[in-house]
Symmetry: C2
């Protein structure tokens, strides 16, 4: 497949949300309906107005197959380093198991390097062991615990 | 102790870096010397110019005892939610075991709520089991793996 990558536009939003919802965990978290709940549009604008965020769509022949979000975070640690964080990675259910995820990560790694990041990081739910195996296969190390506290 | 919280200024930077370096893992990562390497100042300015970041110092009687960094990240997931991420948490070695960390987290949780975050998250190195126990005691759940990929 010849994949292309571009920043998402508002017109892509329904397709992106439908991918986020089309997943065993995502189905309980998202509300995919037309018109989309306004909260998604507001969140989208907030993301695209933030220079440290990139919401990307992956296409083949003009059709969206996948999405991911990169956030670049400046820290003082490691002598003033930047980390790239990747979240909300989804490949359309009809196109899984075809190497799209691997190519997507190669692109994300390259993009993170361009932005000067020394680490690419993510957290993955322990209820998704297959996802962890995939990240290990890409070279990620499970050196950290990902701790979450619900505060609302 | 009567702790107060404020955003860090450039004048606090040597004190903050000395705390980051005064730690078994931090010692190998940081360079604390006067004058500080310029990379820290550049990183500091990048953090303070970013509306989604807050680098905070904790004081008692005008003396800095601790520091932490909050990042607010807008996502589409969970119907357009904001997550707060806390990193670079350090309590001065002379003041550990006195409840400063617990109070610091109570403040950070309140601040994250004010910013509309529904989750406060962090990753903690598996080589710091005592840190994980502390986060569990605060109510954090170790539901995720924190995966890191060195890219430079």
């Amino acid at each position: 497949m010849n994949l292309t990558y571009r920043l998402a536009t508002e017109a892509d939003l329904p397709e992106i949300v439908s991918m986020l919802a089309d997943d065993k965990l995502g189905a309980t978290r998202e509300t995919f309906q037309e018109p989309l709940p306004m909260a998604y549009l507001e969140a989208f604008r907030s993301i695209t107005n933030d220079k440290q965020q990139e919401l990307t769509v992956v296409e083949a022949d003009g059709v969206i197959l996948a999405t991911f979000q990169l956030t670049f975070i400046q820290y003082l640690t490691y002598r003033g380093s930047i980390r790239a964080q990747i979240e909300a990675v989804r490949v359309k259910s009809t196109h899984r198991g075809q190497g799209v995820g691997t190519e997507l990560f190669q692109y994300a790694i390259q993009r993170a390097r361009e932005k000067g990041a020394h680490i690419l990081q993510l957290t993955t739910d322990k209820k998704r062991p297959e996802a962890k195996r995939f990240y290990i296969s890409l070279g990620f190390v499970d050196s950290h615990e990902g701790m979450k506290l619900a505060i609302s």
